[in-house]
């Protein structure tokens, strides 16, 4: 397998992270917000894997496993919240759901 230079992998991770962040900031729909979060988490996971490959250590992949698990948990909670929000407000607009402000 041809080795990929580390900076290319990190660049990809960075671009993905930025895309996710932009998506999080501009999309109003809660489902899209969740998807953007997933992209950002995967970007972080990619950065770990790249770093692990660079130093020849398994740590990066182990951390990715953690991120995967956490993402699954987050999505299950997030989707449950989305359902509740839709049930209550009949909309998925995140800005409309600002009731919990202090």
């Amino acid at each position: 397998m041809a080795s990929i230079p580390m900076h290319q992998g990190l660049l990809l991770a960075g671009i993905l992270f930025a895309l996710g962040l932009v998506g999080l900031l501009v999309r109003r729909n809660v489902v899209f917000t969740l998807m953007s979060l997933e992209i950002m988490l995967n970007a972080a996971g990619l950065a770990f894997v790249v770093a692990g490959a660079r130093w020849g250590q398994p740590d990066g992949q182990i951390v990715f496993m953690f991120i995967l698990t956490m993402a699954a948990a987050e999505v299950s909670v997030g989707l449950a919240l989305v359902l509740r929000i839709y049930h209550r407000f009949k909309t998925l607009d995140a800005d409309a759901v600002s009731e919990m402000k202090g």
């Binding site: 962040l21 999080l24 900031l25 501009v26 109003r28 917000t33 995140a94 800005d95 759901v97 600002s98 009731e99 919990m100 402000k101 202090g102």
Partner: protein, 630 residues
């Protein structure tokens, strides 16, 4: 069995903790079981210890139980340790037993109150603090209990906190006693810096070894401790808090007056008696304070119309007797009077509670009357206690304890004829105001209808205390009357006996006869004015001079008026003037700035998720930039 000693304060303290945390959720019937039961158990432990102490006295007639070291810093090493000798043993026994009866009574008295568990929690803490005060082997632990009873009296006097008047009375009691406590704290500092310990027994040894008789230091220490005692025991000039303390529930008054807080000062002086025997000037001050208080409070008691205030002034006056006894070196006589006073004064308050409760919370004795036939148990027990207070000869406990004090005032080296005259005059006043109270409340025609009758739980403690108010005196009788000295002998294990002075040409029989004469004069004057010829009583108070004198005594010799002008108003004025000074501006500035900041920051919290995310992202970028480029 003496090692059970720690249980005496621990039981009410534990009950306080449970009642304070779980009291509201607890079934209502459990509250008095726990509240009164813990004090009852404590009394049982005290009785077991007493039996043990009498049957097999510990070496040196004292016993110390060290639980743990409280603080250990730079040579200052007070311990949590309890010291038991015949003085603290007797006082603990009386305090726990009388407190138990009062708790038992409260179970019915406070039944319909909403703060039922709160009341018992405070009362338990009160008893626990008092036991710590009595048993503490060093002055610091004693001071802990001392402040504990101060706190509890504040909480209990202001128990019905919804009425601002009660809160005011509670604050007054707290602040006035704090004045005395300041003096006491200074006394403790003085003792520690000069003698290097606060352990009472060690302190007394070192004082004897290091301080010459009559030098300045013991006098100063004695006077400072006297300051604390005067505050707690409501003696001149700090007695003004006690009559106002009547705002609290009646069982509280009984507890504060009879057995606990107000006698703390007597105990403190008896406990440090070595110090006072080294300082005749300070001891004379104790005697003078006592004698002056017993006369002044007696006059005030004659003029009061609220039944509980009469009793409050009576307490002030009787504690005056105890101070007088301490002042002439009659240590055990003071403790004897403490014991009999605990019995009859507790009974008088409990009786007053029964009357007030049955007459729909009527406090004025001029609106009572004729209760003799209607409430026989209350009448007879109240009569017994009243006779004991006034000192009805031969059969009542008060006669023996007061007679002993008065005789010692005459015969002791530190006594004097002037003090004796004051004490005998005090008997006349006591007899006058006591029988005025009894005649007005129980004789004549009825003025207020009886609203409800107290049950067994309120009358039982009254009967027990009535028996004690009679037989409590037979443990120590004068030389011409059986010559029993078991009380004095018991006290001699801890307190030195009276040093008999030159016979001033009167025998003990003569002194007691004159006391009896004073008692009879007071009784007959009360009979004349309040039963036979009520119009005389009105005629004597009509002239302008008599009226203003009456008002003067009624208002506690203008003491409150004086304090209001000398202390309260100048301080309030100064506080008002001082309010807008430079330092205040700094703090108001800080407050203003914080408030502005709040209004700014508040805007950022708008519930918009994307706004928050943007904030987090921007913050991370700024933070990273700082880390990378700076």
């Amino acid at each position: 069995m003496l090692h059970l000693l720690w249980l005496v304060p621990a039981l009410p303290l534990a009950s306080f903790a449970v009642l304070a945390t779980l009291g509201k959720r607890m079934p209502r019937r459990m509250v008095p079981v726990l509240g009164a039961g813990s004090v009852g158990l404590s009394a049982v432990v005290a009785i077991i210890i007493t039996i043990n102490f009498l049957s097999s006295p510990p070496p040196g007639n004292h016993f110390t139980q060290v639980l743990w070291t409280w603080i250990d810093v730079g040579g200052f090493r007070p311990e949590i340790a309890f010291y038991l000798d015949s003085l603290s043993l007797l006082m603990t026994l009386v305090v726990t037993f009388v407190s138990f009866l009062i708790h038992f009574y409260s179970a019915e008295f406070m039944e319909e109150d909403e703060g039922y568990s709160r009341f018992f929690a405070y009362m338990n803490l009160f008893v626990a603090s008092m036991c710590i005060l009595l048993l503490g082997s060093n002055l610091l632990l004693l001071f802990l209990g001392w402040e504990g009873v101060g706190l509890c009296s504040y909480l209990l006097i202001g128990f019905w906190y919804k009425d601002p008047v009660n809160g005011l009375a509670a604050r007054k009691a707290f602040i006035v006693t704090r004045v005395g406590d300041t003096a006491m704290t200074l006394g403790l500092f003085l003792l520690f810096t000069n003698l290097g310990t606060l352990d009472i027994q060690e302190l007394m040894h070192r004082a004897l070894a290091q301080w010459p008789m009559g030098s300045t230091l013991p006098v100063a220490a004695g006077l400072l401790l006297l300051g604390g005692a005067v505050g707690k025991s409501a003696q001149l000039p700090l007695q003004t808090w006690l009559p106002d303390a009547m705002a609290g529930p009646t069982p509280t008054s009984a507890l504060i007056h009879a057995a606990t807080m107000v006698t703390a000062g007597v105990y403190l002086i008896a406990r440090t008696h070595v110090l006072y025997s080294l300082a005749p000037a300070a001891q004379l001050a104790v005697a003078v304070v006592g004698a002056a208080t017993l006369i002044l409070a007696g006059f005030s008691a004659i003029t009061q119309s609220d039944i509980k205030r009469v009793l409050a002034y009576s307490t002030v006056s009787q504690i005056g007797y105890m101070f007088l006894a301490l002042g002439v070196g009659a240590w055990s006589a003071a403790i004897f009077h403490f014991m009999t006073h605990a019995f009859f004064k507790a009974l008088l308050f409990l009786g007053a509670g029964v009357i007030i409760e049955s007459l729909h919370h009527e406090h004025s004795i001029f609106k009572m009357g004729g209760l003799r036939k209607e409430m026989p148990v209350a009448f007879w027990t109240f009569l017994v206690a009243g006779c004991s207070l006034a000192g009805l000869p031969l059969i009542t406990a008060g006669f023996y304890s007061k007679g002993l004090i008065i005789w010692d005032t005459w015969s002791s080296t530190r006594g004097s004829a002037a003090l004796w005259v004051a004490a005998v005059f005090g008997v006349l006043l006591t007899s006058l105001y006591t029988f005025r109270l009894i005649f007005l409340v129980f004789f004549g025609e009825m003025k207020t209808q009886i609203h409800k009758r107290p049950g067994f739980r309120m009358l039982m403690p009254c009967v027990v205390l009535a028996v004690l108010s009679v037989v409590g005196g037979f443990v120590d009788t004068p030389g011409f009357l059986g010559n029993v000295h078991s009380f004095t002998d018991f006290m001699r294990r801890a307190l030195p006996p009276v040093t008999e002075g030159p016979l001033r040409g009167m025998s003990e029989l003569g002194s007691e006869s004159l006391v009896t004469l004073a008692f009879l004069i007071g009784l007959s004057v009360a009979y004349l004015f309040f039963i036979r010829k009520r119009e005389y009583a009105e005629a004597i108070t009509t002239p302008v001079l008599a009226k203003s004198l009456h008002r003067f005594w009624y208002a506690d010799w203008g003491m409150d008026w004086l304090y209001e002008r000398v202390f309260v108003r100048p301080i309030l004025w100064f506080a008002r003037v001082d309010k807008g000074d430079f330092v205040d501006y700094i703090y108001s500035g800080i407050a203003l700035f914080t408030e502005l900041l709040y209004h700014g920051v508040r805007k950022t919290e708008n519930g918009r998720m994307r706004w928050y995310a943007a904030g987090i992202a921007a913050g991370s970028i700024i933070f990273l930039a700082i880390v990378l480029f700076l």
